[in-house]
Amino acid sequence: MIAVQQLTKRYGRHTAVEDVSFHCEPGTVTGFLGPNGAGKSTTMRMICGLTPPTSGAATVDGRPYRQLPNPGRTVGVLLDASAQHAGRTGRETLTVAAATMGVNRRRVDEVLDLVGLGPAAARRRVRAYSLGMRQRLGLAHALLGDPRVLVLDEPANGLDPEGIFWMRGLLRDFADRGGTVLLSSHLLREVEAVADRLVVIGGGRIVAQGDKDDLLAGAGTVVRARDGAALRAALHRAGLTVSDNSEGLLVSADTDAVGEVALAAGVALTELRPAGGGGLEQLFLALTAAAPATAIAEPAGEVVR
């Protein structure tokens, strides 16, 4: 549904995105992860035909975005919730978009209802909206044309925890009905809970991608013992990579291997489990820390204005 092939974007000598390729299939939610300035927004703008790539190409529903006859009916796009005219009301913003796409006006009420913007909120001007309300309006805007594909840049930004929980349900439901979702975030927890697949980007390059479960499985084991030093020494002797984790030691091996090592060394464990979400965080930090120079070179792209 979304196919990205070797997208590259250079601004002068600075490379914002380099050789990025991935696919998003119907029925899945793809989490697009990376720290601020990693190139997520630039990649998404290139997918949506708003930024011309230096090289490479992207297609949505088999066509380059710019060749979609009425893109709003195929792809729902939310790239920046703050990019709405401050002087228009929420309802007017959607009415204008509905008129552009040729969507029935009733659909405006439907999506307002769907994202939880009541009649009073819809009558207010966007100027008076909180960031959370703008995100809801942006989601309503993306859903307006009843698309098959959603491209959402940091949609959870500014939502309260309840709103984030609600949005997860909405996106999960959308994908379960056969839709395709590409959703970016710099917060792992947000994406981890809803994504099937992950694409991790750092310094403009893809550093990891695959099924979430596969990536999690590779994330290692968290282990703790009362005698931490003895455990660490035993793991080192066994040739395993050990690092400190807020919850104990993070070992790049599965729980079986770590348990065997501990038994052989006679160390009593107080905790032994797959690293899971915490491990993904380690993975994320490790992967993206590999390219720190570029990661901070372009911070403006992600800042909420």
């Binding site: 708003l50 790239l79 044309g145 009843d146 909405l170 009905r177």
Partner: protein, 262 residues
């Protein structure tokens, strides 16, 4: 806030493959966008109030024989001619200053169609302004007739036709400046100040006298306020509009087509 999902249990996007939005539909959208913000609505209200005000001033201060339909009409055109181009500028630049270009061009990636719709919309607004000026002039004439003014209803068709050319050219010049500069204050200042600067320079610098006759829109448009425009005057008007309207329009179109939307 608790939200219950009301999404129907269908595959998303069963209605896709919808046709490309027609230019007519995009024009209706752009017309709506001219008036659905406070800035646009107030600009139109102020243009209307100023036109009414100049007619009222004529009723109070003009000599009785001068209180004719033609005088009212020509005077009512002036505030429109100055301010309507600002509406043309706003229609283009607000997409960038308010960053709505991001959603506009995501919905219509063929940007030239959006620009064409905007130009048609502001031209229609210019026609509307001419009709409003005619209405104000009619009201003024009727009042003048009842209060001792001349109240003559006579107006030459050519004058109305010329005034349409004036308003359309003005609003397109504004839109062209907006398209070229893509920045509201810059475009407004450039649109209002450049011709004045040009007039002053053309006046002061002797070798430029002849060039100014052909390039100063303040001068070349003046005959449009009369019923008689000679072939030579049309030529000068065309040359000045080529510089101040067509060139920025084409350059601005190219710039907008290529610009990255962020």
């Amino acid at each position: 806030m608790t939200i219950v999902s009301t999404a129907p249990e269908t595959t998303p996007g069963h209605r896709s493959g919808a046709p490309q939005p027609s230019l007519a539909r995009l024009t209706v959208v752009e017309l709506r966008k001219l008036v659905d913000t406070r800035a646009g609505r107030w600009l139109l209200i102020i243009i209307g109030l100023l036109s009414a005000a100049v007619v009222a001033l004529l009723l109070v201060y003009a000599e009785a024989p001068e209180q004719t339909f033609t005088t009212f009409y020509v005077t009512a055109l002036l505030p429109v001619g100055v301010l309507l181009p600002v509406l043309g500028i706003l229609s283009i630049t607000s997409e960038w200053s308010q960053r709505t270009a991001l959603t506009t061009f995501a919905l219509v990636p063929r940007r030239e169609r959006v620009i064409a719709a905007k130009l048609v919309a502001v031209v229609l607004a210019a026609f509307g302004a001419v009709l409003a000026s005619l209405a104000f002039a009619a009201a003024g004439t009727a009042i003048a007739g009842a209060t001792g003014g001349a109240g003559t209803w006579q107006v030459e068709g050519a004058l109305v036709a010329h005034s349409v050319v004036f308003q359309v050219a003005s609003v397109l010049m504004g839109a062209a400046f907006g398209l070229l500069l893509l920045n509201t204050p810059l475009a407004i200042v450039a649109y209002l100040v450049l011709p004045i600067v040009w007039s002053i320079v053309g006046e002061l610098v002797r070798p430029l006298h002849r060039a100014a006759e052909w390039l100063d829109t303040g001068r070349t448009m003046e005959p449009l306020f009369t019923a008689e425009v000679t072939a030579g005057q049309w030529q000068r008007l065309a040359v000045s509009l080529l510089l101040w309207m067509v060139v920025p329009l084409v350059a601005g179109m190219i710039r907008t087509m290529r610009r990255e939307v962020a």
